[in-house]
């Protein structure tokens, strides 16, 4: 591999599309690896897309990074993301906002926007590391026209991932093809004693005939052109011998509020540690009480969306509200898990659009309220709440912009969604 050329390309793409927070000048390795900036890389600036970590150089590599380095990965850079993953469009960024390589007036999707844009635009990189809490791999994969693979929760160690919502966070892959996504995933899976929620993959038996479920709730409130396009692909699959069934996931409508309550509750506690005491942004603390000092650092270090999410997340877990929001949301999560479990008794995979719209223009995003932004996650939050594996794969264009369809599998049935994904890829 010509490291010089890869480095040059990265710089050029960054100039065009704002892909990297950090480009690694000392880049070297068998293949280039771009890593979302909320994953710790030893001695390489890791900010999680936030000003509050503008000078943070981790002392250790995340387990996934350690594994990839052993396979020859050279870190080309750390990619732009919404601050701490707080966003759907990669527009809540502290440093720069990535532009969609298909149309620079449009967003990349979020929050793993930089990683998706890099894969979409690079000649050299075949896969990059992203991370999803509520759809942060599927969304930018769909908007940028690349493959996004979000594994079952726990399949990849989270050690070294700067937490957004620990019970939802998953490290995953953005790739040029299903094959490449799958081979990258193979490099990073496995139980890790440093992450108690990580598991050893149970070996599934390869299904001979895969039945596809079409969840009706995932086609309402979606751009009709996208629905048509996705159904075209489903028809092709049906023609090629896949059985297709209509399915209902009745609790889908509660997924967005439940997701935001759980994710923000956890996020508001995770962000408490950033207070200018041991790392990150700091000021002179002379003549200040610690409360005053913490407030000063946090006021300056966090962006508006981070502050909004801390406030919301704190509110829903306070005495008097905890029962009606936080605990209720956990119950809803159980119902959503049950929905999927019931569905997977009838079918092997589910197919739905990845996102309800094509990548919006920055000018359109500006007009959206927070609530409107949150509801664009309608198709991705439920699978993330359940922690099932998700594969987003390009399936044609609308308005010259790529669209994606997502293939959802049962727990640890990555092989099922990969098999269907490879078939879809053949249709071009």
């Amino acid at each position: 591999m010509n490291t010089k050329k890869v480095l040059e390309e990265a710089k050029e793409l960054d100039k065009k599309y704002n892909i990297f927070i950090t480009i690694n000048e000392n880049f070297d390795g068998k293949f280039p690896l771009a890593v979302k900036d909320n994953i710790c890389t030893k001695d390489i600036l890791t900010t999680a897309g936030s000003k509050i970590l503008h000078n943070y150089y981790p002392v250790f590599d995340a387990t996934a990074i350690e594994k990839l380095k052993k396979r020859g990965a050279g870190i080309i850079g750390k990619t732009v993301m919404d601050e701490f993953g707080f966003g759907t469009f990669s527009t809540n960024c502290a440093y720069k906002i990535p532009k969609n390589p298909h149309d620079p007036k449009r967003c990349c999707g979020g929050s793993s926007g930089g990683s998706a844009a890099y894969i979409a635009a690079s000649k050299y990189a075949e896969f990059a590391i992203g991370q999803s809490t509520g759809g942060s791999i599927t969304c930018p994969a769909a908007f940028c026209g690349v493959v996004g693979l979000t594994p079952t929760y726990g399949l990849v160690s989270r050690y070294g991932l700067i937490d957004y919502a620990n019970s939802l966070d998953k490290i995953g892959v953005l790739a040029k093809s299903v094959e490449k996504a799958s081979s990258c995933l193979q490099m990073i899976i496995g139980h890790d004693s440093k992450d108690s929620t990580s598991v050893k993959k149970k070996q599934g038996i390869q299904k001979k005939k895969i039945t596809i479920g079409i969840p009706k709730e995932y086609f309402a409130n979606v751009d009709k052109r996208i629905v048509v396009q996705v159904m075209k692909y489903v028809k092709k699959l049906e023609k090629d011998g896949f059985k297709v069934k209509k399915i209902s996931l009745p609790h889908t409508k509660y997924a967005v509020p439940a997701y935001y309550i759980i994710a923000l509750s956890e996020a508001s506690t995770n962000l408490a540690k950033f207070c200018g005491l041991r790392y990150g942004l700091s000021y002179s603390s002379e003549e200040k009480g610690f409360n005053e000092y913490f407030s000063e650092v946090r006021t300056a270090g966090f962006g508006e969306e981070a502050k909004r999410r801390i406030i919301l997340g704190t509110y829903v877990r306070m005495a008097g509200y905890r029962d009606q929001y936080y605990l209720k949301a956990l119950k809803v999560r159980t119902l959503i898990i049950r929905d999927f479990k019931e569905a997977f008794k009838k079918v092997d995979v589910l197919i739905a659009p990845s996102m309800p719209m094509i990548a919006p223009k920055f000018s359109e995003i500006e007009k959206l309220t927070s609530l409107q932004q949150y509801t664009s996650d309608i198709l991705t939050v439920a699978p993330n709440l359940a922690g099932i594996p998700q594969l987003s794969i390009p399936c044609g264009f609308v308005d010259k912009m790529p669209i994606g369809m997502q293939i959802l599998g049962d727990y640890f049935r990555e092989d099922d969604i990969i098999a269907v994904g490879k078939q879809v890829e053949k249709y071009g």
């Binding site: 050690y159 070294g160 991932l161 700067i162 620990n166 019970s167 004693s193 950033f274």
Partner: protein
């Protein structure tokens, strides 16, 4: 007059484990380790680090739960308690909230008069210790700056919460002493090396509950409660309201200060700790721990009385300190249990007087048993043996030399004869029937023998000579 005092204790005990609660930092001699040399990304709360549970802590907590007659939860988990404070590396503490590892236990206390009382244990939690703050040149409000030592961050703590069943400061002291002894017996806690702190809740009739946080030491707890009862009583006397508030004990200045009032009570916004999984505690696991439970102090007290026929007071004395109990049980393999208990009680008092523990003296049971043999075979007198005790706790290796000064001597006859010839006046008074004169002569014999002749021997020898 203060009425209806209710006292509840929340006692935090640092647990004796090889490594910390959520990381592999060594706990060995951690109190003596130089500042910030026992910490890693996990105890420092570095971004990306995650806790992983040290299972040994669960074993110890279950052990404590069983020793305190608690129900062990079949399933338990951890929660995040959020509050921003500079001693907390993550600004939240991983603790237990909804379902603690153990609950609904009891501990019976007995005062010196033998009165028994059952104190209910509400719950036992596992949680992490925060870092230690060192306020330089002052206390928390006046210090110029504060240093943080993260060695303590992540040390496993067991929180033992009682119901408000204690009604006097003395009861609280007796309770904590007993609790401390049990924890020491279980080898889950090392007094002196690991710390034990209590949050003390005190209420009196007509007032609300006052919490005093962070009281170190058993004597201090007793003092704090005494002060609180007095302070609250004065408020009532002045017709003032006692409102719910949290106070803090400052060990540097030995004062209690107001921390916060009711209206500014913390809201911790508990959520489940998402980095740790639920823990299922199987019956087999509990049984396995049950088998490792040693005989506890109160069990020993009962057994000593029943099996060896010693008094309750002596049994209490033998069992209340584990090292003494071990010493006693070793001695009675070769010695009469009643006789040994009496002398070990005496040894304890001598040690106490010299501010020594049995561990600190190098006195072995072998040497101690030699001494008891000398007393039994009347080669030393009782008072002589007491003198020997005082010497050998300092230098047991000189035992052979020390006993030479106190053992009964061959020239006893000579001493008695000398006294008779020297004290002719008393002798004649005795012969004419004055018993008091015999007492005087006995005293002279004991004195002249350097306590190597005891009163009984002196008496019988004098009587024989003057018959």
């Amino acid at each position: 007059m203060v009425k209806n005092i209710k006292i509840g204790l929340e006692t935090h005990v640092q647990l004796n484990t090889n490594t910390k609660l959520f990381c592999s930092c060594s706990m060995k001699n951690i109190s003596e380790a130089p500042e910030n040399t026992r910490c890693c990304p996990i105890c420092l709360g570095m971004p990306g680090s995650k806790p992983s549970l040290n299972k040994a802590v669960l074993d110890l907590a279950i052990k404590i739960g069983l020793a305190l007659d608690c129900k062990i939860s079949p399933e338990t988990f951890f929660s995040r308690k959020t509050y921003l404070y500079p001693d907390m590396s993550k600004n939240f503490q991983i603790t237990q909230y909804e379902i603690p590892i153990a609950k609904k236990g009891k501990l019976e206390i007995t005062d010196r008069n033998g009165k028994r009382k059952e104190i209910n244990i509400e719950r036992i939690n596992i949680e992490e210790d925060p870092a230690k703050l060192h306020h330089v040149d002052g206390d928390i409000s006046s210090a110029k700056y504060t240093l943080i030592n993260y060695n303590r961050s992540g040390i496993p703590l067991c929180e033992i919460v009682t119901s408000p069943d204690l009604s006097t400061p003395k009861e609280a002291r007796i309770f904590l002493k007993k609790l401390s002894s049990i924890l020491e017996y279980l080898k889950v806690f090392i007094p002196g090396e690991l710390s034990m702190k209590s949050d003390v809740n005190v209420s009196i009739e007509g007032g609300e509950r006052i919490e005093v946080k962070n009281v170190t030491g058993i004597i201090e707890v007793e003092k704090v409660i005494d002060c609180e009862i007095f302070r609250q009583g004065c408020l009532l006397d002045d017709k003032k309201k006692i409102e719910r508030e949290t106070r803090a004990w400052l060990p540097e200045s030995k004062t209690i200060v107001l921390l916060r009032k009711k209206e500014s009570e913390e809201d911790y916004g508990y959520i489940f700790e998402p980095d740790l999984t639920k823990i299922e505690v199987s019956k087999e696991w509990i049984q396995k721990i049950q088998k490792t439970l040693p005989e506890l102090a109160h069990q020993k007290i009962e057994r000593y009385q029943k099996q060896y026929g010693i008094s309750q007071e002596l049994a209490f004395s033998m069992a209340s300190d584990l090292d003494i109990a071990i010493f006693y049980e070793k001695c009675i393999i070769k010695q009469d249990p009643k006789f040994a208990a009496t002398w070990i009680d005496l040894l304890k008092k001598t040690l106490y007087y010299n501010d020594l523990s049995i561990k600190e003296t190098k006195l072995t049971t072998e040497i101690f048993l030699k001494l008891l043999d000398l007393v039994k075979s009347e080669k030393v007198t009782k008072s002589g043996a007491e003198m020997i005790l005082r010497d050998i706790i300092h230098s047991p290796e000189k035992f052979e030399d020390i006993i030479k000064n106190y053992s009964i001597i061959d020239n006893a006859e000579q001493i008695v004869s000398d006294v008779i010839s020297e004290e002719s006046k008393a002798v004649s008074e005795y012969i004419s029937g004055n018993q008091k004169a015999l007492q005087f002569l006995m005293g002279q014999v004991i004195k002249k023998s350097n306590r190597r002749i005891d009163a009984i021997t002196a008496k019988s020898m004098l009587e024989k000579k003057l018959k």
